[in-house]
């Protein structure tokens, strides 16, 4: 299979060609670079979504209310499940639907793909109930505005987003010498209720978001960084935790561990919230961060095991531009390896579904059905199940059962969409003259248009980008 540059631009860097897209691309590199020149207009699909503070604030208040009712009897587990189903899941489904609508209809698919790339880099997972309603909000509020800006701004926005704070338990991380800890010890001395830090956010920022696991930090760095981050929390609790806007990021001065901390050989003087921001700014400038991010971008766009020379050049562009992401993307697009005519990246379930809907030019179904599709295909949206995000290598996706699920899904969709478009037209719109003879033959011999469409969706050229 040999793909032309416009097809590579649409398939590998974009989200799969919509009818007519291939002929509008022109110079493929210019087409892609234009898409990341700036943040672009806010997609209208996002207008009807609630913001994270409203969703989380409402959830926390309702949960508190139920807990008070619990004292008067009532089934707390059932009530929480009820609360999530009625109040939170509709937000989740609306976010999944909006995201997929944007992906299916966008004329800046490279820009969108980068949004999803960074969402996966800064993964939170909706299997934690408190995150269920706000994972999509992290993408829309913290990631979208900074995808074409500087990494440091993206990093700061994400680490101060309530979804990340709650996902990695930082709202409960309290300095053992903070005013809050000292006050609590005086009021109610209880050796069983220890007040201390929680390492989770500090560790994952170092390991996953910035330096990478081999980035040269130690356990002592993790612990010190966790102390620096004490106080990064959510507003609107009860009693001593009442300050701040409910459901929004709030720096709790009284929970912050006082004093200087040493991280990666550098001393950070006590400066409240600014202390953590200073660490993040230095982490964003670190050469290990440049290398880690370059590796992940190259893995996403070039190959599961990207060439070291490409990674080095992209990392250099990161360092010399002070982490300007536009410059980094340009360096990626300048790599010959990125234009390898053989499609080598096996699509993830989300990429597969979106590319089918784009090729067919059909709107996604409503949120519940859509979320069900992604779940059946093994990738429930915003649910990687771990802060490392979904793996970006084919061996994690190309299981036999996963392939069978794609077959079953393709048949079900093709059956319903058979009257919409002719499989030969769809193949031609999506691939131009790059449809392989085997696929053309399979389509030509199919017993029905539905079967032909399903074979096209399952063809090797459709499964890879």
């Amino acid at each position: 299979m040999v793909n032309s540059k416009p097809l590579i631009a649409a398939q590998r860097f974009g989200l799969g060609a919509r009818p007519g897209e291939l002929s509008t691309i022109g110079d493929p590199r210019a087409w892609l670079e234009t898409q990341v020149r700036g943040p672009g207009p806010t997609p209208p699909e996002l207008a009807s979504l609630s913001d994270s503070a409203t969703i989380l604030g409402g959830f926390l208040a309702a949960r508190r209310e139920r807990r008070e009712e619990k004292k008067e009897g009532g089934d707390p587990v059932k009530q929480t499940v009820d609360l999530i189903r009625k109040q939170i899941v509709p937000h989740y489904l609306a976010q999944v639907e909006a995201r997929t609508r944007i992906a299916v209809n966008t004329s800046a698919p490279f820009h969108e793909r980068l949004v999803y790339f960074w969402t996966n880099h800064f993964a939170v997972s909706v299997d934690k109930p408190v995150v269920t309603g706000i994972a999509g909000a992290l993408e829309n509020e913290a990631i979208r505005p900074h995808v074409t800006g500087r990494f440091v701004d993206l990093l700061l926005a994400v680490e101060q987003h309530p979804a990340m704070i709650m996902y990695l338990d930082n709202e409960l991380s309290v300095g053992p010498n903070s005013r809050l800890a000292l006050m609590a010890a005086r009021r109610r001395p209880d050796p069983k209720r220890k007040i201390d830090i929680n390492e989770n956010l500090g560790r994952e920022i170092l390991e996953l978001h910035t330096l990478g696991v081999d980035g040269g930090y130690t356990q002592a760095d993790v612990t010190s960084f966790a102390r620096v981050l004490t106080g990064w929390s959510i507003g609107g609790g009860q009693g001593l935790l009442a300050a701040g806007k409910p459901g929004a990021f709030h720096f709790r001065e009284n929970a912050h561990e006082p004093g200087s901390q040493r991280i990666l050989g550098r001393t950070y003087r006590e400066s409240g919230q600014e202390q953590g921001e200073a660490v993040l700014r230095d982490l964003a400038q670190h050469s290990a961060t440049a290398h880690h991010l370059a590796t992940k971008l190259a893995r996403h766009f070039i190959a599961d095991d990207p060439p070291a020379a490409s990674v080095d050049r992209i990392a250099r562009a990161y360092r010399s531009s002070d982490g300007d992401l536009k410059t980094v993307y340009a360096a990626l697009l300048a790599e010959d390896a990125a234009w390898n005519p053989a499609p080598v990246k096996y699509k993830t379930p989300f990429e597969f579904v979106v590319s089918v809907l784009r090729a067919m030019a059909i709107e996604p179904p409503e949120g519940k059905k859509l979320a069900g599709s992604f779940e059946v295909l093994g990738q429930r949206t915003y649910s990687p199940g771990s802060p490392a995000g979904w793996p970006d290598t084919a061996r994690d996706w190309d299981g036999a059962d996963a392939l069978m699920k794609r077959v079953e899904w393709s048949l079900a969709v093709a059956e319903r969409a058979a009257s919409v478009r002719d499989a030969r037209t769809v193949a031609n719109d999506a691939f131009g003259d790059a449809v392989s003879p085997a696929t053309a033959r399979a389509i030509g011999r199919a017993e029905s248009n539905a079967q032909a469409l399903a074979l096209l969706f399952m063809s090797p050229e459709f499964q890879r980008r």
Partner: protein, 413 residues
């Protein structure tokens, strides 16, 4: 590689297919069954198998401590003078009493950092470093077994995709419940033809067809044979995570029990990363342990008489801090416990060279110190249960582990 004979069989009638699928072969490569369960997220071994007899335990564990057996509603289930079992693990406690559960405590892989993902890589790749190996120890172990007749895969991943532990040269199958109608035979034949120049996709398709044949051949699983028919409830993926786990283990048991089916299976369960509100008898951890306990019970039931030939290993990437953190949970640690259970297991005991819980006893002053190597447990099971010789275990299956002697006496003789 694509099994052409198999796809040609698709052209004949369903009745003929059913006959073809019956186990008309002699017994498969081994009668033993091995199931490996990976608990992703780092199970707190001090919570699952609490050392209630350690004089320092109650103090260091504070609000998370369980009481000694019989001490009230927060009491552990009794194992021996030192150890108890978390009260959610009632099924495992029965297994212990009947001599079918063995616990190895203060155990760790060779990995000594605290990244989940690297830690999981090490317990799956079977080496000493998180990267540099694209295949898993269980796949390499499969290569040491005589092949199954009929070229059926010996290894089965219970999920849509194959985890690292089971990736490698030996072909393996994967299976997960589905809500969608099955693809018809005609479509699969056409797709096999379309994939004939694509070795990767055609291998996957052939593996998938083999498993769906096994599932269809098993009338107790009762899947519809053709497309467009809705699936019955037993085959629909359950919504709730624990119910889904039980569904997977119940069906896995049936697949494993078949005479010419897989001999080795892997599944994983997530949600063990208890940084906050871990709880003791109640809390974040307790329902997860109960879910695991019930899943293992349903595996046992589904295996029926084959349970006698079965060993199940439950392992996790590392343990958690001995001390509680600021959010009534625990952070990433080092040593933890591993479980070996099954009708073939010489259980009813806890193997531990207990390091103690005082600060001076801990690894880096914070974690339970490892005194057993997880590879010794795994090598012991592979040697005694699947008859793989120790030399190849030390060389090929767990490279560089020849100095780590397999634990002996794990399996009944």
């Amino acid at each position: 590689m694509l099994n052409r004979r198999h796809f040609l069989a698709g052209a004949v009638t369903t009745a003929a297919l059913t006959v073809w699928k019956r186990p008309a072969f002699a017994a498969a490569s081994t009668d033993s069954r091995l199931v490996v369960v990976i608990l992703r997220g780092a199970l707190d071994g001090l919570a699952a198998v609490p050392p209630v007899g350690d004089p320092d335990y109650a103090n260091v564990r504070g609000a998370l401590a369980l009481g000694a057996a019989g001490s009230g509603e927060n009491a552990a289930l009794p194992l021996d003078r030192m150890f108890g079992l978390h009260p959610s693990l009632t099924g495992l406690h029965d297994s212990f009493k009947s001599g079918e559960l063995l616990v190895v405590h203060a155990v760790a892989s060779p990995y000594r950092e605290r990244s989940h993902f690297d830690g999981q890589n090490v317990i799956e790749n079977g080496g000493t470093a998180p990267s540099g190996s694209a295949d898993g120890w269980l796949n390499r172990a499969l290569l040491k077994l005589p092949p199954n007749p009929g070229r059926r895969e010996l290894g089965l991943a219970l999920g849509q995709n194959v985890p690292l532990i089971l990736r490698g040269r030996a072909e393996v199958a994967s299976w997960a419940p589905s809500i969608l109608p099955n693809a018809g035979r005609d479509f699969l034949d056409r797709l096999a033809d379309l994939y004939s120049d694509d070795p990767a996709l055609s291998a996957r398709l052939s593996e998938a067809v083999n498993v769906s044949d096994m599932v269809e051949a098993d009338t107790s699983m009762d899947a519809p044979a053709s497309a467009q028919q809705p699936k019955n409830d037993a085959m629909r993926p359950a919504r709730d995570g624990f119910a889904r786990l039980r569904q997977i283990t119940a069906n896995a048991g049936k697949l494993l029990a078949a005479d010419n089916g897989p001999r080795v299976a892997v599944f994983d369960a997530t949600g063990w990363d208890t940084h906050a509100n871990e709880g003791s008898s109640q809390g974040a951890l307790s329902p997860r342990l109960r879910g695991l306990d019930e899943a293992l019970k349903s595996l046992r039931t589904a295996l029926g008489p084959v349970w006698r030939q079965t060993a199940v290993v439950v392992m996790t990437e590392f343990g958690r801090t001995v001390q509680i953190n600021g959010s009534r949970g625990t952070d990433h640690g080092t040593a933890t416990c591993a479980l070996v259970l099954g009708g073939a297991v010489n259980g009813g005991r806890v193997i531990a060279d207990w390091p103690g819980l005082r600060t001076a006893d801990l690894y880096q002053g914070r974690d339970l110190k490892p005194t057993h190597d997880l590879r010794a447990v795994l090598k012991g099971v592979l040697h005694e249960h699947l008859a793989i010789d120790p030399a190849s275990l030390g060389r090929d299956v767990f490279p560089g582990s020849s100095s780590v002697a397999p634990l002996t006496g794990l399996i009944r003789t």
